[in-house]
């Protein structure tokens, strides 16, 4: 059992941060790696990237948006409750080197995944330009931490409620036009359409770009093949070959479609869960 030591609801009640006791994982985790967790006995196994780790406290931090039953169930847990199983760290760590100028672009809860990578690049002595975005101001997460890990920092909201009014791709393009070949690498993490459009922009400017793919997984150790993605025409397993890949080679269309594999079942599970919650509330 993995005890929850802290819980914070970050944005509009749907984005949650948990600090969890997991000393073995905390000691080993590197930027870009993820864990697979199972909330309870009947739960499914879902991958979540670590937004932070503290080897001294023996804790990992996860940030997730409530989108379906499992994340709703996870959100229902309070401090001192426990998550049944957490395995990790999984996946190949981000290759972090000193390259010069690096642009880090994050959207929605993808910012949580981006943060340790951004910090890693910053600590490695790179000039880090960060651009983070969300649909609206209230959905923006980790602003302070991202600012701290960056030399230059930009915020965008789709509705203009905060920062630049528009998409992260606008600011990305501005920066690339301004800096040109000074930018050695871009890292873009967020919803699939955002990653796809960001990578189109960086491709125009010839900037090597990395994305982190949120494929559906079961085991997370290369054993089931559920998370396969097409990268440069080859089949890769996001769990062990990734989760990060060369953005200019990823088949984003294929990934988007594979992510819809269980939409009807996910809806069924969520409806059932909400009904159960409603019944329990009435019962009280």
């Amino acid at each position: 059992m993995y005890k929850i030591l802290a819980k914070r609801v970050l944005a509009q009640g749907t984005v949650v941060e948990n600090e969890i006791e997991a000393p073995r994982i905390a000691a080993k985790a590197k930027p870009g790696q993820f864990v697979i967790l199972r909330v309870n006995e009947t739960g499914e196994r879902i991958p979540l990237t670590m937004a932070d780790t503290d080897p001294n406290r023996g804790t990992i931090t996860i940030i997730y948006q409530v989108v379906g039953k499992t994340t709703a169930l996870l959100k229902s847990l309070e401090v001192m409750d426990a998550i049944m199983d957490i395995a990790g760290p999984l996946g190949t760590p981000t290759p972090i080197e000193k390259k010069g100028t690096v642009i880090c672009v994050g959207g929605g809860t993808g910012v949580a995944v981006l943060h340790p990578i951004t910090r890693g690049f910053h600590q490695a002595g790179n000039k880090v330009i960060s651009i983070i975005g969300a649909r609206t101001k209230d959905l923006l997460i980790m602003e302070d931490k991202m600012k701290k890990a960056s030399d230059e920092f930009y915020v965008c909201t789709d509705d203009g409620s905060y920062g630049h009014h528009g998409f992260v791709t606008d600011v990305l393009r501005e920066q690339l036009t301004k800096l040109g070949s000074e930018v050695k690498e871009a890292v873009c993490i967020g919803p699939v359409p955002m990653m796809k459009f960001c990578s189109k922009v960086t491709e125009e400017y010839g900037v090597p770009t990395m994305v982190s793919l949120n494929a559906i997984m079961v085991d997370g150790t290369g054993m089931c093949g559920c998370c396969r993605v097409q990268v440069g025409g080859e089949t890769k397993f996001a769990c062990v070959d990734g989760p990060e890949f060369d953005a200019h080679k990823v088949d984003f269309e294929g990934l988007s479609k594979r992510l819809t594999a269980y939409v009807p079942q996910e809806r069924q599970a969520m409806d059932r869960y909400e009904q159960k919650c409603a019944c329990e509330t009435k019962g009280k």
């Binding site: 080993k28 395995a87 079961v218 150790t221 093949g225 089949t235 062990v240 594979r258």
Partner: protein, 469 residues
């Protein structure tokens, strides 16, 4: 003497089974087990040979005539003690061993009549013991102060754990999944091996003192070298199986609806997907299911798909029915349950709809040519002969390879060109203090072969722990 004559003529006691038309739609165990009367009747068919060849046919060398004699006398506690001496997993082996090629294949009674049902008797004794609460545990040697790490918790690893704990060593089993049992829990379906039985065998080892740590991805959460240095283990056994799924490598293989057998069976068995939505992991049903491959894993996938409510379930195999590698009993069970065998066909393309969901598969018709290096006649395409089948769920069960997670992070461990770990007959690898066995050394095989490899390795490890490398 009249009684003896009668004994020789008694026919093999059949195991009662769920009827095919019923069991094809449920996940309960197919064979229902012997009653005490049946077990005794069957045990009496054993000739108690002076030189028992059945014993030679058992990879873990169970003293078969001895345990059968105890059952014949109604001493079931004696029978289970006999079994436990050589086998930590009798309830599992009694169910999933290919006995026809092993113990029962060598049985003298089998020369003229059907062999003694050794597997059924083993299962009976183990099931009896599980129901018995106050059974004494088998004896353990005095503590040696040595610590052994066993990586993976499948049949090979559990055998090593059981053997070494009884030789007085401290044993910790590390499992990457949240439940121990390896292929016994993620791969073999409930209707062949109920998960509570695996849990009970693991619990038996825990009661003997084996520690089990789940959610430990060795190679990632902790490395083999860290086990040997920081964690203070004196020896390590790698029984991690061959879990890397193989795909056919044809267009459309990443469509929604094309699964590896590993994924399909893991969703079904470990995650209990067939109980969705009580359990949260979805498992698709499919209206037209094709399973590619003809081994035991293919049979498990086919029979699971049938139980998910599909009426059109086909086994598509590229050779002829004679070459199907699955156990005869499994093929027979599958056929009784209504599974169609579509042999001499090979997939060449998966076809999807606009949402990338599988809707059909194109097959190449095959014929058998000259024998290949495996001794079986090589399947060859018949030029120009293809057909397209409607198919919304395809399961690829054509074998699996070695997962590089451990070998990549363990310097000094030699691997062959397929990524399997190099080890001698006793499982000793090129890296001091490290043994390996089962599928990660030999490639995919059977439960009992893994257990046999575990037995040899455990003896070798015990020698090392006693005398040194």
């Amino acid at each position: 003497m009249a009684e003896k004559a009668k004994k020789e003529k008694a026919p093999r006691t059949p195991m009662p089974e769920q009827k095919p038309e019923v069991r094809r739609r449920n996940f309960e165990e197919v064979p229902m087990g012997y009653t005490a009367e049946m077990a005794q009747a069957e045990a009496q068919r054993c000739l108690q040979c002076k030189k028992p060849s059945c014993k030679e046919g058992c990879p873990v060398n169970v003293d078969i005539p001895q345990f059968i004699a105890e059952i014949a006398q109604g001493n079931y506690a004696g029978a289970i003690m006999q079994l436990w001496q050589k086998n930590s997993l009798p309830a599992v082996c009694g169910r999933v061993c290919p006995q026809e090629n092993q113990c029962e294949g060598m049985c003298i009674v089998g020369k003229k009549d059907k062999p003694v049902a050794i597997g059924n008797l083993e299962r009976f004794a183990a099931d009896w013991a599980r129901a018995e609460k106050d059974l004494p545990m088998p004896p353990k040697d005095a503590p040696t102060g040595k610590k052994v790490a066993v990586v993976g918790s499948g049949p090979g690893s559990l055998t090593v754990a059981g053997d070494l704990i009884r030789k007085g060593h401290e044993v910790t089993v590390f499992e990457a999944f949240h439940k121990a049992g390896g292929v016994l829990v993620y791969g073999i379906p409930e209707f062949r091996l109920p998960k509570e039985i695996v849990a009970a065998e693991v619990n038996f080892l825990e009661r003997l003192g084996v520690k089990v740590e789940c959610n430990m991805v060795v190679g990632s959460t902790i490395t083999v070298d860290e086990l040997l240095t920081e964690e203070g283990f004196d020896a390590v056994y790698l029984g991690v199986g061959a879990g890397l799924p193989r795909f056919v490598g044809v267009p459309g293989e990443n469509l929604i609806g094309v699964y590896s057998a590993n994924e399909y069976l893991t969703r079904a068995n470990l995650m209990k997907g067939y109980l969705f939505p009580e359990y949260d992991t979805p498992l698709v049903g499919g209206e037209h299911v094709c399973v590619f491959g003809g081994g035991n894993v293919a049979m498990d996938s086919l029979r699971t798909a049938m139980r998910m409510g599909c009426d059109d379930v086909k086994c598509v195999y590229r050779r002829s029915e004679q070459e199907l590698p699955a156990r005869g009993e499994e093929i027979h069970h599958a056929k009784d349950e209504g599974i169609q065998f579509f042999v001499l066909h090979n997939p060449i393309r998966f076809i999807g709809d606009e949402d990338n969901r599988l809707k059909a598969v194109e097959l190449q018709e095959m014929k058998l040519g000259e024998p290949d290096e495996s001794g079986r006649r090589r399947p060859e395409p018949i030029p120009g002969s293809t057909k397209t089948l409607e198919c919304d769920l395809a399961i690829i069960a054509i074998g699996s390879g070695a997962n590089p997670l451990i070998t990549r992070t363990t310097p000094g461990l030699a691997v062959n060109k397929w990524g399997y770990i190099e080890a001698d007959e006793a499982g000793k690898t090129k890296k001091p203090g490290v043994w390996a066995g089962g599928d990660i050394v030999t490639g995919a095989a059977t439960v009992i072969k893994a257990a046999g490899a575990g037995r040899l390795a455990a003896n070798s490890m015990h020698e090392y722990l006693t005398w040194g490398w």
